[in-house]
Subunit: 710 residues, 2 copies
């Protein structure tokens, strides 16, 4: 196993090397004219300033929690927390660092060809993607090697608690980064669009708009850094949860193998993801989504092949009979669970593309509804967003049934791990979005020819879909992994109750019923269910508030300085960036604490009313409640937002309605579609995606609560 672990470390290192090498190639590309570089550096400065401030604030919360973790759970958990937090921050920071430099180069490359722009933007995304996977893998594997090397058995509680704490560190950073970044980016985007596009009638990213730099900064801090932190968290938590599960439920002789397996899958899929990036090439047809698909399919097929030797090496015999409770399965079955994970990923990509891609029924229906006005646009967008939850949920349901039938709970774990092992590739698809979005902004502001903007817009439309894909993928993995996360809790609880001695909190708790007929289970489900709603309500309010302040500021600049609209004086870009930085940091705190404190409050309240068994039951049910509603809330928001955005984009080349009439940019229908896009912005980039780390934090806090009470 030691060799295997070091091989996994090698895979992690390789992905970092890929990141460094690719970044060098990117930096070597032409950074365009002085004007372009000037704009790009304004964006870079704003983004760096924001991130510095955000991390400083998070660090304050982080240090408090670090000390608490140390005192309550010991030094190893505290170190784990620190590793998770630092790596999560690093993944976001480095990704953004590359992204703010790639934007101007992609804009320059798009002057020559669509393929050139795609190549640069995708490479930048791939750096972020592989760093997310690579750093995640390295963090967990190295710390696991260190802990087991320090004399702890792999299944020792210290090891498990330390790994869970590592996940918690990642989750905590991720929710702050997702929310803070999301509020910043959408405050700028919504506010800027509302005054710029709708009121003043100037195009997006017009240099006359005082919010335009802030908007581009937002793409980086929200869609790039925030997203990277989120996926890092998802990746790490899933691997850790599956490792914990293996340690608890597998037969003793297979526990270590089972714990290393998720890491091995992660390692081999980093390799297939790197290989996959080389397949992304624009074909003669100029189909951008097709080019990206090539990369995804290559990674999928290679993973499908590579997983087989991994299983074989890990277990030694593909026909080995493994007994867990009443379930008996073989490594073959686990392999097919992995395949199921790949298939689920593919289906989620395909469904998301259907619901958010231009030219399909859902996006067209929103565009068509725009012709009758703002109201019908929003109604249809909401209808699409609600409807878009059904197919992904059915896929997840099927996934649970198939993988559980194949290999029980551990089978589900392997499927989720395999699904997330592709994170390198999937995040690459996503992180390519903000680069193209920025490239478009730079092209517009630098006054490059219209064809450039057309190229970047085409890339950006695909970016909307791929961004929705990642979010559906992250939250889908939470849905598929619901039972794994829940099992980590119930099995831990069971273990603590079984081994409790007198004086211990768990002594004499007796059997905890998670039956739906138990009122405290229903109470837990409802309480968990309310969290995603309340949380996203709070985040939407935060974006609304931030956007309103931007609108007020932009209107003020236009009013007090008429030279801006005439193009004779430059607007004060810095003020909007500053204002948003402060607003986003302030607004992110309270919603982020909701999932941290809710499990504790719920547990204590039920404990006081109805005793320990009821409190544990309610807390457990809460973990499922938050997934059951969170899954739908998150998918509806991310898919709906993507569809709204692309419905707006449909007008840019002229949208042909059902009567054959063509509606162009600037038409009333287009204005209505901008309203929908505005509404979709916080839906898809703030509230929706932040639900995923919120779910994870709730789950991890529950696990840590058990560890603390022990």
């Amino acid at each position: 196993m030691t060799l295997a672990l070091w091989l996994i470390v090698a895979c992690g290192v390789l992905s970092v090397v890929y990141g460094v090498v690719t970044t060098r190639t990117l930096m070597a590309a032409n950074a365009g004219s002085a004007r372009m570089q000037e704009i790009s550096s304004a964006v870079r400065e704003g983004a760096t300033a924001y991130l510095k401030r955000q991390y400083t604030t998070i660090a304050i919360v982080g240090v408090v929690i670090l000390i608490a973790a140390w005192l309550l759970l010991g030094i190893y958990a505290a170190i784990g927390f620190l590793i998770g937090a630092v790596l999560s921050g690093a993944a976001g920071f480095i990704g953004m660092h590359v992204s703010v430099r790639a934007n101007v180069r992609a804009a320059h490359a798009a002057q020559t060809s669509l393929a050139g722009g795609l190549d640069l933007a995708f490479k930048s995304g791939a750096v972020t993607g592989l760093l997310v996977a690579g750093l995640g893998l390295l963090g967990v594997t190295l710390y696991f090697i260190f802990l087991t090397g320090s004399g702890f058995a792999p299944t020792d509680r210290t090891v498990i608690d330390a790994l869970v704490a590592l996940g918690f560190g990642a989750s905590l950073i991720s929710i702050f980064a997702r929310l803070g970044g999301g509020i910043f980016t959408k405050g700028a985007d919504v506010g800027g669009d509302m005054v710029g596009k709708v009121e003043a009638g100037i195009p997006e990213d017009d240099p006359r708009n005082p919010a335009t730099i802030a908007d581009n900064v937002g793409d980086n801090v929200g869609d790039c850094a925030g997203m990277a932190a989120d996926l890092f968290e998802t990746y790490v938590v899933t691997i850790v949860a599956t490792m914990v599960l293996a340690a608890i439920i597998l037969p003793t002789e297979l526990q270590l193998i089972g714990m290393v397996l998720p890491l091995a899958i992660g390692g081999v899929c980093v390799l297939t993801s790197i290989a996959g990036t080389y397949f992304v090439k624009l074909g003669a047809s100029g189909n951008i989504m097709g080019a990206l698909y090539k990369g995804v399919i290559a990674t999928g097929v290679l993973s499908l092949i590579a997983l087989l030797p991994v299983m074989w090496i890990m277990f030694g015999d593909m026909g080995l009979s493994i007994t867990v409770g009443e379930t008996i399965f073989t490594p073959w079955a686990l392999y097919f669970c992995g395949v199921a994970g790949l298939v689920i990923t593919g289906l989620i990509i395909w469904i998301t593309e259907y619901y958010t891609g231009t030219g399909r029924r859902p996006v067209n229906s929103i565009a068509e509804a725009s012709i009758t006005g703002h109201g019908t646009n929003v109604i249809q967008g909401l209808a699409v967003s609600l409807e878009a939850t059904a197919l992904p949920a059915l896929v997840i349901i099927a996934g649970i049934i198939v993988t559980y039938s194949l290999a029980g709970l551990f089978g589900i774990g392997v499927a989720v791990v395999t699904m997330l092992a592709l994170a390198g590739m999937i995040v690459a698809l996503d992180a390519f979005g903000p680069v193209t979005d920025n490239a478009g902004g730079i092209a517009e502001m630098a006054g490059l020819p219209d064809e450039v903007r057309k190229n970047t817009d085409a890339l950006d439309a695909v970016g909307n879909t791929t961004k929705a894909v990642t979010k559906g993928y992250a939250i889908g993995s939470a849905g598929l992994g619901a039972l794994v996360l829940f099992a980590a809790y119930t099995q831990d609880l069971d273990y603590f109750i079984r081994t409790a001695t007198e004086g211990n909190f768990f002594f004499g708790v007796g059997e905890v019923s998670f039956s739906l007929a138990d009122p405290y289970v229903v109470v837990g489900l409802l309480f968990g269910g309310l969290l995603p709603f309340l949380f996203s309500g709070m985040s939407m309010t935060a974006v609304g508030r931030a956007a309103q302040s931007v609108v007020v500021e932009v209107r003020r600049q236009f009013r007090e300085n008429p030279g801006i609209m005439e193009g004779t004086t430059k607007p004060d870009y810095g003020r909007a960036v500053d204002m948003l930085t402060k607003a986003a940091i302030k607004e992110m705190i309270i919603p982020s604490l909701l999932p941290v404190l809710s499990p504790i409050v719920a547990f204590v309240v039920v404990l006081l009313i109805a005793g320990k068994a009821a409190a544990f039951a309610a807390l457990g049910a809460m973990l499922l409640g938050v997934i059951v509603t969170g899954l739908f809330v998150a998918i509806s928001m991310t898919a709906g937002g993507g569809a709204w955005d692309n419905a707006k984009k449909s007008f840019e080349d002229g949208f042909t309605d059902s009567t054959g009439q063509v509606h162009y940019k600037g038409s009333e229908a287009h204005k209505a579609s901008v309203t929908g896009d505005t509404v979709g912005d916080p839906y898809k980039d703030t509230a929706g995606p932040a639900v995923n780390p919120m779910i994870k934090i709730t789950n991890i806090i529950a696990l840590l609560l058990l560890a603390v009470l022990h």
Copy 2:
């Protein structure tokens, strides 16, 4: 018990008598000028034509199901189904019949005073309210008397199946009526507003708008008839579920008492509701909500007092020790459960008023957000709608904990029954809304002085809140009663499995686990969870489609007949009514069948994959899944929609923003608020409220499925 039952019948008869007498008083009121009567009769004709067509369509589906019920479950179930269906339809039809006549009289009365308008509108609402409660009570009680008089023991399966089938009849009509009416009313409202208010800049209900009669028809068929059918269903299903629960879980000697108790509570609360209606009087302050509160508080306090003798008479001894499983409770505890039901109702009213009433933080925040544009208005409205779910959910959670601690499952049942026993009063509050809305329309179209419209608008703003109250109340009762509905299923299932003999479907199924650790339970939760999302997505699409066709039609009339806008020619009102009638009937079918077919499909699929026990577990979990997400989806939609509507109304008297500036009707901010209102329309009046009957149908189908398989 026979005497008690006949006394309950007497209460039911009294409520019908109240309805007849009050209707006569209403009809005696002055019906206004010839022009007003002309408008009113156009609305009446449209509404009657729509309802006739709707009931004809439903009858076709109904007959098919009636025959199926007869064949599968026998004649008594078929008759029960018929009674439920017919009475549900009747409650809606009669309520609407009164409402379309009261509207013009309320408009006339509002010419003299606000108090006069309120009085007439509220009385009309009270007729509908007391018919809902009275007919529900009569239907269940008389059929129960008939069945037990026909030689069946009260707890005989035939009796239980027949009562459940009665609930099913009510539910089926109700979902069609809610959806069909909702699509009609909101198609007209949204479509009419978008062309009229936003594009043409003419006021709501302007006679030049070709959709204006359709809009007023919609208020009656949707908000009056549809709502009445919905609440009738909620009332009946809750009583029936609690009766079934009593028959199954109470000790043998208390079963009959327990079955009659819900009816007795219903009976006495019909009396307190009638008494309460006389307390609704506008005080010197002119506070409309205050006047309505007086009625609600009077009903609540009287019920609080009257429940005590009911318990005492039913059980004979308030200290009697009742043992159900491990729970022991007394009639005193049941009394306090009833009190809890009243308190929950009060809290839900109060919270809903907070979230939807003008002048409070949530509505003001939406109005304020309108100043920065359409987009921020919608974002803030969505934020409020999401946030508005938290407090009601917490109230329901507290309700479950308190009542279960007091008297176990049956205690929850008594609390929900008491909550719904106030339906007479609560529906009165709601049904008063469409009357005032119509009165305003008639005032506008008939060109009555502006003060009249001001009076009716003031009434209408309160109507928005009370409409949201009823919906929150209906869905809240579903949340509180979740365990009762679930217990009806699990206890039935348990009974069938226990008593199964060889050859029976239930033979050898063994124990069914409803543990959250079971994958089929999680699958069921997720599948149930997706239904409210998919269902409301479909209903929103339907409204969007209907509205778009209205927009196209109204634009056509304006274009082809310029005399309309000049006021020289009359628009063709009938076309819009006709078009919407066809559209609504067509669009209501498929979404309505979703909750009917889903439980069956889910059961069969899981049965084929994993066998009987898994299928029963998944089906059971589905029932809770549909409540867990449905509760939040419904509350967020109904509260959010109400808040949007009243944010728009805030501009009518001038909205003072945070900087002290006043924004009036016709301002850009007002236009943005109209967009929000438009979006909120299908949210609050179509998709949101229809979730409640949807949940009930899913539950009842599951119960009937068990009965059929037996």
